[in-house]
Amino acid sequence: MSMLNLTYEVDGDDFTRAGEASSAVKKRLRSLGISPEAIRKVAIALYEGEINMVIHANGGRIDVSVDPDKITMTLKDTGKGIADIEKAMQEGYSTAPDEVRNLGFGAGMGLPNMKKYSDHMEIDSTVGVGTTVYMEVYL
């Protein structure tokens, strides 16, 4: 049984609200006394995931569970899926549209950052069905 379970729906239409779920998770983790280093890793990994959901998948759902030894994040969407995961994992590879780039995103750093800041990550994606990203940060 986890110490804490959190669920957030990510709104796919509103780019200005991206980050709300990550910020909320960050606050809750702080109140639990989780180390700042672990919180930072979770916050960055989640925010990148949130941005990806807004850009590519018209939103989705984030589940976070906190256990004594780790924080688990599951990001599930029913978007268009990732055609080539290996390519998507390369820094600089991006399929984001220009309007997203104009906001300072879409540089092809999202998934690489998620990999960098989580201690374990798995991606399950089917084109036309959606993507689930599973990440763990160890405490």
Partner: protein, 111 residues
């Protein structure tokens, strides 16, 4: 040096004070590509940018920087300013470019 001390000494405008009176700046990061900032700015850095949109604030919060310094006199819109205040992000405005503003801070950090 705290963000507020820096702002007062070098004549930057304090748009949102956040924790700027108590938090120590420990490093500098300059970049306008938020995707890079997320991965590379360090906790307690002062983050210099001309990207003045609401996502800049989110990145500032999540990367846990000491302050966000908007350069070249580029003002944020109302939503961005409001978000900075809500999230306790220290937001400063410099009329100089990123390099010159960061250089002033760099000199202070070397003392």
């Amino acid at each position: 040096m705290t963000p507020v001390e820096f702002a007062n000494k070098y004549d930057l405008e304090i748009l949102s004070v956040g924790e700027g009176e108590t938090r120590e700046i420990r490093g500098i990061y300059c970049c306008d590509l938020l995707s890079l900032v997320m991965g590379r700015a360090k906790e307690d850095d002062a983050f210099f940018t001309v990207m003045a949109n609401v996502n800049t604030i989110a990145v500032g919060v999540l990367a846990d920087v000491a302050c966000v310094v908007l350069c070249e006199g580029i003002r944020p819109d109302e939503l961005t300013l409001q978000r900075a205040k809500e999230q306790d992000v220290t937001l400063l405005l410099s009329q100089k470019d990123s390099f010159r503003t960061a250089l002033d801070l760099w000199k202070e950090l070397q003392r």
